[in-house]
Homo-oligomer: 137 residues x 2
Amino acid sequence: MKNRRSFLKKLAAGAAVAGLLPLSKNASAGEVQLKGALIHHVYFWLKEPNNEVHKKQLVKALNDLLKVETIKLSHIGFPAGTESRDVVDHSYSVSYMTMFEDQAGQDAYQVHPLHVKFVEENSHLWEKVVVYDSVDA
Amino acid sequence: MKNRRSFLKKLAAGAAVAGLLPLSKNASAGEVQLKGALIHHVYFWLKEPNNEVHKKQLVKALNDLLKVETIKLSHIGFPAGTESRDVVDHSYSVSYMTMFEDQAGQDAYQVHPLHVKFVEENSHLWEKVVVYDSVDA
């Protein structure tokens, strides 16, 4: 635990010094806060949520999509087994979180041939997509 | 651009060697993929979305909440000015993305005194909250 914290501190300090990564060290914890970021978070609801072949195809295609150069940080996920509360939506099939440095990076991604191909080849799998784009508060 | 990419490469390589951070280097890009992560992403809709005092209070309270030790990575945001498309929801007021190492970290956060205090002191500000919890696909 102590090792991890000191590693995160070094990581954040190094990033701040280099001025290369949108990280800043929270004063009170071993935590890294992303700054100068556009978070593009997509949730997919599959037409056949229990079809493992469809789920695998979508995850593989999303992994391939990470080759777009303007994506700087990402996470591909499934709903967690966290507590069922009114406000928690566990109903989606796949989560796709990507971080860009700015809106230009996200705009470039939208029209990138790999993204166009991804939609063409996989959009028949889902019945609903919700996207949230956020920039620094 | 080249400097940034090489910095990201070093960052990912260092993390992999140290085995301390849930990062892995995508083979084909200068991109960092989070692994071994639970992403807890919360979207708030304020009762008075144009009330800047309310918005400021919520953002400040969320920043204070980052002191919870099990939070490893975070981003606090507002809707980006990205293109209006059917699938993009720009209607929320504040986005709060946090990353934990596992479900235990998220569970501890839910009952943490700072989180309980945050809800008590600020829940009158919002009319709707949606939470998505995701673990590695």
